[in-house]
Amino acid sequence: MSARDCDRTRELLDGVPSTSEQQWLQAHARQCEHCRADVALAALLADAPAPAFTEHDELADRRLLDAVLDTARQQHDAAPLLQTPRSPRRAARVVLWAMSAAAVLAVAAVMVTWLARRPAPQRAQLYLAAGDVRAADGTPARVGDRPAGRLRVGRGQAALAFGPAVRVQVASDTQLELPAAPSRELSLRLLQGKIVASVNPARKVAFSVQTAAGRIEVSGTTFSVRAHDGQVTVSVARGSVRVTPSRGDVTTVQRGQQLVLGEKTSRPLLTAAREAIERAGSAIDALAPAGSSAAGLSSVARLFVHSTPSGAMVRLDGIELGRTPVAVHARAGTRLLEVRLDGRQPIREHVVLRAGARLERDFELAVPSASSGAAAPAASSVASAQPPRAKHTRIASRVRRARAARRAARRARARHASARRATHEPSNPSRVTPSQSPAASPSQSPAATPSQSPTPTAAELLGRARALRTARRFADAAKVYRTLIRRFASSRQAASARVSLGYLLLDQLHQPKKALAAFHAYGRRGALAQEAAYGEILALRALGRSSAQIAAMRAFVKRFPKALQRRRIERELRKLDKRR
């Protein structure tokens, strides 16, 4: 036994020891008192109860940490301060000291908890102002403003952030009233029109909407409120809200329900309406992710889009931002920007939004002519008016697209050549998807070679599927994933698409059998093998094939000992074994 052995013990305890390392660890722990304590305590804590958390939840880790911190704080307050004293005099001294320390600590803990839990007074901040958005004094409201009092949205839309937890999308023809002074209470008064609110449940904040017909209170949900001619309708897409009508009893409206204030019972919400609210909610989250401080917005860039003529619909990653001119705070990163106006050539390009930076785009929307490519001269005419960084962005994005197209062309040539060799049949290069964007498809002659084919590349298809998924158009996204898998079966993107398709079928489209096939198709190797294997378990569980599920779980634990899901799976295995 040496200091080196103790160091090794520490390293092994910090990592994930193999079986032989565990044996060594136990042998060493029997001899070394300090290490024995560490190993024994770790073994004791390893199967201590832990808080529940939702799988498949991106916020799970964050929530988990919050839960740990909360509990740790509670325990800190309740921690024993005294050990048994040895002599009466010392005991008295210790008790006196402890009592005063406890009093100070208790006061400090109460103060800290109160200060930490109590939200600072704040005002809502505009992070989207598209079209006619006016403050109380009639002046146009701009992104970054913190409006007080009345806010009017005419033809256009706006979005407000109430601290890091609440996002509210304001539809056109809406009037609302915001607190005149910074307030701790997150609330607004809806006078006329429609809002969609998204409240992050992990933040545990209360948000309320006051209307003429009553009050709607939430703590973590996505819902819409429409006030029209004195009638107020609350529709809940996720979570639940508590409604206190001006006259009548307090009611809770659950997910998928709709309530007209004043009526006693709620009615089911149409699927399409629920999807629309969820889409709006996810659009809000995508623009300014919950968790980013509305005031700092350090990971967020500002984007301004103008067009000639104005009034063109602007989409970012498939999410409708409204009609030009549009000013928006959007999450930094490479995003797909689309500008469309009926009767004009649409524009579609990738923009790189840098954190804290501002990007301005001005598009001239050309009338489509018989010969395509009108958008390109329009875009190039804008490029000269761009600041240098924006110009570089355009060039970089073109270079990326060109490289992707070359790679796809090479693969397509190889595939067509092998197909011709195998079947002795001529290839058909003129495949065009119905959903293909005109901007992405410079039209070619039917005799074009595959390298000039208008078929989108694997990367483009993957991007399209992801955008559709973000827009919650799950069935369309599944179709695009399938197209990608069919056309580029051996590509990296197709492999990734198989796993994505599996989870899409399982979680959103409720087709576990097809999901299982998608996970099987991924195979056992590759970067996403763990995700595929876990998906297989979930699919088998959904199908009720318990023996196959247990076998898959055992295989998973064996293959991926470091997986985050391992503990959960082992726990479930124990439960299933007990039942058997």
Binding site: L41, A72, Q83
Partner: protein
């Protein structure tokens, strides 16, 4: 006192050995004496079995900081645990048990 977090209602994890449950409570009491800064990585490591890299990402600190906090935290936990007679005897008999 709860162990390290509120147990879930449907939780059936761990064994139903009441003696072990009591020991877990004792070790939670000892854990409560570790300062918060070092308790968080300890809980994430010992209870949730996250890797050092994952803990670093979750707590937005560097991996070496996490390792350091784990090392000091373990020492503090050990000292606090060995003051408890029940835990002291558990640790002493641990090798024999196995």
């Amino acid at each position: 006192m709860v162990v390290v977090a509120e147990p879930r209602d449907d939780d059936q994890s761990g064994d139903d050995d009441p003696a072990r449950r009591l020991l877990q409570r004792d070790v939670a009491r000892a854990l409560a004496q570790v300062p918060l800064q070092r308790r968080v990585p300890l809980v994430l490591k010992l209870v949730y079995q996250y890797s050092v890299a994952e803990i670093a990402e979750m707590t937005e600190t560097r991996e070496n900081t996490v390792r350091d906090r784990l090392q000091v935290g373990r020492r503090e936990l050990r000292k606090a645990a060995l003051r408890d007679p029940a835990l002291r005897s558990y640790v002493a008999s641990w090798g024999v048990e196995r």
